[in-house]
Structures are given as structure tokens and as C-alpha cells.
Subunit: 259 residues, 2 copies
């Protein structure tokens, strides 16, 4: 199937960012095997990674690293290795679910401005963890449902001047989302023609979509669209990602090996 | 009358700030002769200024300056000079009336934060004219009914953290208002005992009160009390000033000469 969904996923989506195999494995386990008793057998994982053009040696190295990081655990069942998320890996994956899989309407409609007493009141990292993006020293913007630190000045926004987005919107993310949006649109068109995808193909497509989306959406807080410029495709990407994942329902792990 | 209202006005109120005779005349004309056909005859003005311990020569110099500034005009009627506000002087006096004579309940209850696109969007002076006090570069606070410049980000305040007042409240004004509050309180106690003040005494007392109040209240925007620290006596002073002025109703100019 020329220019099929799988080719597009391979050529357009996976090529968007740096290829970190351990990170791709985090996506695969997070998407396909996040539930408590989910395991991915070694052969199934090999099939998926081969389909994603990852070499077996790279997978072995990445699995080793993830085991060391207490993210993945592997157990032998006869001659087969069974890999699964550790409790730790499962918790962090679950914590990211709302950011990755949250439907567009879950995004807060309004935003707030938060001012700290001083630049040392809260670190920028702490503020980003709370869901706030830096605007200027001491001043942050966040969704209206983000919880500001105690003792900060929090002000709900009423109107948003046009210059605001230019002052906090990361320019590299604007470009990255534009590229992702273009790739997802192509994938959507291809999927309209590609019928009868099997569980293995669906698993590979889902992994490619979630992975390319995850590496952008987890890099910034979830902010309402009105805060961003017209060039920002972040919210459009979420709409497309959710549409595509709905069209490609998560396959049962047992079916992948049979495909 | 020892430690009487007039002595207190002289010793406590008038001594609070630098004695600028032209400025005192602006107060006297603004308070006693602001209406269109109001004039103060030379002899009446002399009586009042003498009661306020201003030397005739100083009054002459100040009147000369105010005539040059197109603030006051003087006309001869027989051997008597009649002084009155010019149209210009009357307009500026009238513009200051709400700030000087506005009752406490007219002060906005809530405040807003305003952020400019850049430090050069509006000058600090322009922002102060609009009723905003600087908090940090590009960021101002103002009463909720102050009109922010077009294109600025304006955010209504919901809560006010305790640290905010310390960051914009001018320390010298905190001290000046504390001193004024103490003097006005003494004056209020004295007035409770001083009955039967005549028009001339009332005119002198009003001028002393309005003058000491005017030189502070016109130096900063009118902001809600919650923005200030507990040490700020600005709002308490307004309450006292209005109480005192109500107790000392503006005398007719014609009565002053007869007192």
C-alpha cells in the first residue's frame, strides 16, 4: 500500500522528533499496556518495534535502561520474556493521561494571570508543574482551573490582548505543532482510504500518533486557545489526535501477535 | 482659646508640609470661591492670610505668580482689589473636586491590575493620570473603575495578597498620612469643645484642613483600601476630612469680612 497510513506514520510522524527508543517504549507501554495486569510478550514487542523500524539491539538497550529506571519490569515465562510497567511507571503514565488523552472540551476556556511575591517565591519549574507558563519575571499565565501557589496574586482574565501570545508562546513549539498538524492531516486523509487495518497495524499507528503528540503536549502547560496566536496548532492537533485514536481503537494485546 | 481648634490648625496642620503661599491661595480660592461669580476682596483675603500667619508681602508675590500663571485674575473696584479664579483656574479646581471632596463611599471597592505590552506603551505619568500606580515595570494597579489604556491587559482582582501593598505603597505617604491623621484627630477633639465659630474662623479652619489634605491626596491615585497596608491612614483621613468639613460648612464670602 503506497502512501498508506503506515508509510505516512513512518515517514512523517516518527521523523518529527529525535528517535529515542526508550521514550518510544514509554509511549507503547503507556498506550497499549497501562492497565494493571497488562504485559507485552517479547515477540509481540519485537514485531511492533520492527514495524517501527527500530533495530532489536536498540530495543534491548532501551529495555535495559527502563528496567534500571524502575519503569519496566521483565519476567521470563518459559522461553518468553514478558514486559510490563512497574507500579512507578504505571503511576507516571496515568498522571500524564489527562494531558495526552484529554478531549478538547476538557481544556479550560479561561485563563488567569499569577504574580509571585518575588522571583524566589517559586521556581519556574515548580510553576510549570502547577500548570503555569512564564510571561515575565514573577508573572505567569495558566488555565483558570490551575491552582496557583498559596500567597500568590491570582487574577482571572477577562479579555486577552493580541500581543500577549507573542510574549509567552514558545516559537519552537509553534513550528513543531505546525509540522505535527500537517502530518496528522495527511494521515487522516490516508486513513479514509485504508480500510481493514489489523491489530498490529493499528498498534503501530497509535504508537506513532501518541508518541509524536506526547513529546510536544507534555512540554508545556495546557492553556486555553485564546492565549495563543493564530499560528498555534496545539489545540487543532488535539482535535485531530482524538479523532484518529477514536478511529483506531486500542487493540487487545493478544490480537497483535495473531495479526 | 488655648489649644483651640484654630491653634491646632495653625500648629499641627499647616506645619505638616512646606509652606507655599501660592499653593495655599489655590486651596483658599478652590474651597471658598470656586463658583463662577465668586470673588474675594483684597481686605478679606488679607484677613484670612493674616489669620494663617502669612505675611502680606508673601501674599502679594504669590498673587502675582498666580496671575502670571493665568490662575487668578484681579480687578479694581474703586480702591478695592477683587480676586477671582480665571476660567482656567476654575476648571482645574473643579477637576480636582472629586479627589478632594469625594465622600469615602465614592471610592471604588475593588481594584484591577493592568499590564502594558511594553514599558514604552505608556509613560508612567500617563498611567498615573489614568489613575494607576506603578507596581513593577509594565505592571500597574488601579481602582476597578479606572479606565486602562487601549490594548493593555486588564485583570480584575479577586483577592489581595498581603505583600502587594508593600510593593507599591509610597513609604513617605504612609508617614505623611499618619501625621495628618493624628493632627485631624486632635482638631476633631478640639472642635467638640469649640462652639460658636464665626465665618472667618471657619474659613481659616477649612482652608487649613483642605490644604493639608489636598497636598497628599492629589499625589497618588485613588485606590481601594484593601490594596494598602494596615499602616495606611489615607482612607481614614478622608473620613475625618469629610466629617470636619461637614461640621464646618463653607461660609458665605460676604460674612467673612463682617466676622
Amino acid at each position: 500500500m503506497d502512501r498508506s497510513a503506515l508509510t505516512i506514520a513512518q515517514n512523517e510522524l516518527t521523523s518529527l522528533g529525535p528517535q529515542r527508543v526508550w521514550s518510544l517504549l514509554v509511549t507503547v507501554f503507556g498506550d497499549l499496556a497501562q492497565s494493571e495486569n497488562d504485559t507485552i510478550d517479547g515477540p509481540v514487542l519485537s514485531i511492533l518495534m520492527t514495524d517501527m523500524a527500530i533495530k532489536p539491539e536498540a530495543v534491548r538497550v532501551a529495555l535495559h535502561r527502563l528496567r534500571n529506571d524502575n519503569w519496566i519490569t521483565s519476567a521470563k515465562h518459559g522461553r518468553t520474556s514478558r514486559h510490563s510497567l512497574t507500579e512507578h511507571g504505571r503511576q507516571i503514565s496515568a498522571a500524564a493521561n489527562p494531558r495526552i488523552y484529554g478531549p478538547p472540551q476538557d481544556t479550560a476556556k479561561n485563563w488567569q494571570l499569577v504574580m509571585l511575591e518575588s522571583t524566589s517565591s517559586q521556581s519556574r519549574t515548580a510553576m510549570e508543574k502547577l500548570g503555569f507558563a512564564p510571561l515575565m519575571p514573577r508573572v505567569y499565565v495558566g488555565a483558570s482551573d490551575a491552582k496557583p501557589p498559596k500567597n500568590a496574586l491570582a487574577l482571572p482574565a477577562v479579555k486577552t490582548p493580541a500581543w500577549l501570545s507573542a510574549q509567552f508562546e514558545p516559537k519552537d513549539l509553534v513550528q513543531d505543532y505546525a509540522a505535527l498538524h500537517s502530518a496528522l492531516t495527511k494521515l487522516e486523509h490516508a486513513l479514509a482510504k485504508d480500510h481493514d487495518l489489523n491489530a498490529r497495524e493499528i498498534a503501530v499507528l497509535r504508537s506513532a500518533i501518541v508518541h509524536s503528540w506526547r513529546r510536544l503536549v507534555l512540554r508545556h502547560p495546557n492553556l486555553p486557545r485564546q492565549l495563543y496566536s493564530d499560528d498555534w496548532r496545539g489545540h487543532d492537533c488535539r482535535v485531530l489526535v482524538m479523532e484518529l485514536l477514536n478511529r483506531l481503537p486500542r487493540p487487545a494485546l493478544s490480537e497483535i501477535a495473531l495479526s
